[in-house]
């Protein structure tokens, strides 16, 4: 008996260094701000699996879709800031969507880490034969009705900005998530649409064409296609996938979680990294802590200005 006690004590001591850093007290809830099967969902679930394997933390992913991730963030805001409830959504959820809500502000959250960046592009059905924004404009000028598939307020505003820059008239179609926008394009409910990354298989299969990149650089799938900026439209709709917690999360917990995610994303063998390299090339984008908070707050202000300008 005594021996066992000593053994246990020794083991506890030996194991102690491993417990020096923060460890959750029970399972961590990972709330995914978009629906099942989309890019956010797949990435979040893969990441959750790998964190479990790496640290032994039990992670329970759960989808809370709707309103650009704010259905999730509105609930996240009210949870305890103890690292046991985390949100997985996109930067738009925090640096744009709170604008439309009286109850949300970018200050309501602790920003832990980004994981990947979008491959935001303007898409059209290959059947239409359009290769560029010029083709789109020509078709619109020839009298074709343009319907643009959008999944949120920000990208709809973006579509309007593009339309005004081209001097054409577009009607908008609101879809459920990026996958909904693709479905609308394929089923001919819309003839132009945005794609944030999920479009990859359909573009490669030759069903959809990329007309332009809405990032600061050309998208990996169509490096020869110009960015919107090259085409004369001053617009960047790129976003990142981001893990957050309620405001007031202690720095050590924030950094611990950020560290685990970075460790996984930097490992070339990791399934999450391989998914990101495939769907959101070329590599994971890891911005963390204060730098990330700074990025969200500045972008939020810029977005407020953009919407003001659009309304005028």
């Amino acid at each position: 008996m005594k021996k066992t006690l000593i053994m246990t004590a020794a083991l506890t001591l030996l194991a102690a260094p491993a417990f020096a850093e923060w460890n959750p007290d029970g399972p961590i809830r990972l709330w995914i701000g978009y629906g099942a099967g989309g890019g956010t969902d797949v990435q979040g679930r893969t990441l959750a699996k790998e964190i479990e394997a790496l640290r032994g933390w039990k992670i329970l992913p759960e989808n809370k879709a709707g309103e650009d991730g704010t259905v999730m963030s509105a609930q996240l805001k009210g949870e305890a800031a103890d690292g046991q409830t985390l949100g997985f959504a996109i930067t738009t959820t925090y640096d744009f969507a709170p604008m439309n809500s009286d109850n949300l502000s970018p200050e309501d959250f602790t920003y832990i880490t980004t994981t990947a960046g979008s491959q935001m592009a303007v898409l059209a059905r290959a059947e239409s034969g359009w290769q560029s924004l010029a083709d789109l404009k020509a078709a619109a000028d020839a009298g074709e009705q343009i319907v643009w598939a959008n999944w949120g307020t920000q990208v709809e505003a973006g579509a309007e900005i593009v339309a005004r820059a081209l001097g054409i008239n577009v009607n908008h179609l609101r879809t459920k998530g990026g996958k909904g926008a693709l479905n609308a394009l394929v089923s001919m409910d819309a003839n132009v649409g945005w794609g944030g990354g999920v479009q990859k298989p359909l573009v490669e299969a030759g069903v959809l064409n990329i007309l332009a990149s809405a990032e600061t650089t050309p998208v990996a799938l169509a490096p020869e296609k110009p960015t919107l900026k090259d085409a004369g439209v001053d617009l960047n709709l790129g976003y990142q996938y981001i893990i957050t917690a309620p405001a007031g999360l202690p720095d050590d917990i924030r950094d611990e979680i950020a560290g685990v995610v970075a460790e996984i994303l930097n490992n070339p063998e990791s399934e999450t990294r391989q998914f990101i390299e495939k769907q959101y090339p070329p590599a994971p984008i890891i911005t963390q802590g204060e730098a990330l908070r700074e990025q969200i707050l500045t972008t939020y202000d810029a977005n407020v200005e953009m919407m003001k300008a659009l309304a005028e």
Partner: protein
Amino acid sequence: MDLLFQYIGLGISSVFQGPEGGLWLLPVGMVLIGVLIGIIIGAVPGMSGPFAMAIALPILVSIFGYGNEALYPVLGCLLGIMKGATVGGAVPAILFRTPGTPDAFLTTLDGYPMAQKGLGRKAIQTAHFSSVLGDNFSDLVLFIAAPAIALAVERILGLPEKSALIILSLCFMAAVVGQAPLKGLLGGLLGMFVSLIGSSMSGNGPRLTFGLPELGNGLPLTSAVLGVLVISEVLVSIEDMRNDRSSQAEGPAKRPEMGPRLTWGERARMLPAILRGASIGTVIGALPGIGTTTAATLSYDSARRASKHPEEFGKGTPEGVVATESANSAVSGANLIPVMSLGIPGNSAAVFIILAVETIGDFAFGPQVFQFTPIREVEGFDTIMNAGLVTAFGMFTMMVIANVWNWTLGGMLMGLLGHLVKIPKSIILPVILTVSLTAAYTQDGGYLGLLTAAIFSLIGYGLRRLDVSILPFVIGFLLAPTLEGLVRGAFTASGGDPFFLLKSPIALGMLAVSAFLLIRMVRQARRA
């Protein structure tokens, strides 16, 4: 054509190939378990296929989880239950004149007299043969019709037409379901109203949530459906039990003499009648809202009219059993035609199939499932194809497997079911209640799920007591978000044209028929 066969091949192999690529017999086994449960549940008076599916779904999800690889085992089991129940219901109807499922009621008319004449075995085998054959027939129609309809819908119908189609289906359902069409319509509208809670799809934040952020994405779906369909039925049954306690003391009836087997010659002579019954069942099943009972009634009537000895109907003629069983079983396959091609559920069994698909993985029903994307392999990436289509053919494969089990084990099991003792409701009801409430709590948002289930069970109880059929409520609840998305889309895509629904002749035609149905319903209600 090659592409079609490629997809069919992939679909079939996807059922037998596990996530890691090895041989995977889990879905086949789950189909078998489903069929066995279905036959047994079907044979228990007071329980029905949809009921068993409602209870099985949460249990299955807790075993297999929400991942994509859970879809086949869960769907396989549910499809098995759906199919098994259509077969099992006939046994107690024939032997004891207590139909196991509501749609087997008409089977008692001729099945029970046959058993009394000492032809029990023949009656059961007739029921099995015509039931399974009818089911197979409607499956065949489903396999061909669902992709064809979906492709046509996708090619021909735009947003306004799709909106009009859903409006038409809802009106049609209200008009045909239950005794009082106007009540059905009101139930449907009520269902649509409660589904307004949550997302408004406008980007201006959630609506009608009473400030509860948890309701931002709408009411928890599983809890709501379990509450209104299952728990309300439990409440009604408990009340009924309390009211007539005296009639509870019934012991198991005595099993009559079974008699000779059904010969192959007799089976062959039944074929034309089975084909007629199955056709009626298939047509009825493909229309949303009309159930198995209507199909069985229509088929029984038409069989009597076509028969050379109409006077024998009701006195124990096999023709009567053939007519009802072939028709009510043919409904189950055909019911999946609107589900798989349009995402519109037609009866409660279909509601649970849709619920399973919505809860698990990323597969969803709708016309996009049947896009025949060319299959191509891309270096460094995986194969490009329409994974939804593979899943659809996988589902068809599991249905065929269920049919095989029904043919073989179903026949054997039906012979044994004569020994079944009636399970008292005082045992079944608490089990159902516990399972449903646990499911609402664990899988659907904790206390919010429980609360939703409780409120919806009261709604369901109220509707049942007011003789309003539940189905339009549930289907209105499930379809309203789709309808809103389509109407909103059609409106904005038209550039804000106020007459956006009336611009195309197809949409106009469908809306005209809807209006006609509405006027007819109001007139009927006035006359009554």
